[in-house]
């Protein structure tokens, strides 16, 4: 399973079918959701700190993803019982065992968006990578699912599942778990 942002889907689909992988598309409105569904992709609503409560309450039965990186955002993911928590760690570390335990209870998957890591300069990348090492350790302890996803709009920034699996292993996830989490088939709610 790979996670990408909404548009343009046509090229993204071509590359992802080459890698034989299921795509989950992050959408922000109903129009994008329809586009994803017509392309036989699984839509997942992207929720930010700034998303109004009224909009969030409408999405009860749908798949949800929260962009983390701050205490507030990470707690929002716990409160919403989000399916995916993207980038839970920025250059500062906001992830702890308590949060991992809550995520494990909610069956939330922690996602390292690969594109974000690529954009960062070497110093930031070092800090994010260092925090991720710790985060994976927490995830392993509390059995929280952890995957590396491309999370891109550019089809040429998609990475093959083998590569992302290797990155997860490099971060400290056991080989079998890295494979299992990435190959998990996601069903639409």
């Amino acid at each position: 399973m790979d996670i990408v942002y909404t548009q343009p889907l046509k090229e993204l689909l071509q590359v992802s079918t080459y890698f034989k992988e299921q795509l989950i598309v992050l959408v922000e409105n109903e129009k994008d959701e329809k586009v994803a569904k017509t392309n036989d992709l699984i839509p997942c609503y992207l929720i930010k700190d700034s998303t109004p409560e009224a909009d969030i309450s409408k999405l009860n039965s749908k798949k949800k993803a929260v962009v983390g990186g701050s205490v507030k955002a990470n707690e929002l993911a716990v409160r919403l019982k989000a399916d995916y928590l993207l980038q839970p760690s920025s250059t500062k570390q906001f992830f702890d065992l308590g949060l991992a335990l809550k995520l494990s209870a909610n069956n939330t998957t922690v996602v390292l968006c690969f594109e974000e890591l690529l954009k960062a300069n070497s110093f930031e990348r070092h800090q994010v990578w260092k925090n991720y090492l710790e985060l994976v350790r927490y995830c392993k302890q509390k059995k929280v699912k952890f995957i590396v996803a491309s999370a891109t709009k550019d089809p040429l920034l998609l990475r093959p599942p083998k590569v992302r699996e290797a990155l997860a292993v490099l971060l400290g996830l056991p080989n079998d778990l890295a494979k299992e989490y990435l190959q998990e088939v996601v069903k639409e709610k």
Partner: protein, 116 residues
Amino acid sequence: MKIEKVKKAIVPLSKRERKRYILFEILNAEVAEKDFYFGFWIDLLSFFGSKGLAEINPKVVLFKGNKAIVKCQRGKENDLIAGTAFIEKIRNKKIIINPVLTSGTIKTLKEYAKIE
């Protein structure tokens, strides 16, 4: 002063360090062999650093068409595959490097990729 040439002792096959070969496929753009070697090396070096890359010890053994066979230390193949994620561009051409197969011999990879 006369410099005497000393012949290097041949390390027996059983005592040599083990290696692994990985077949990579380059998607999207055509890249020249030299450019691939340079681009591959630079991005891996920025990610692993000198020490890390020396431990992996990658070497491009064969490059034909859009396929490349890279040799590395045994046990470090996972690191090498992970490192290729950071290779985004070679000579301003956006590429995706797809690891196809890992093997202990070049022969298997050549047969798989149909390279002569």
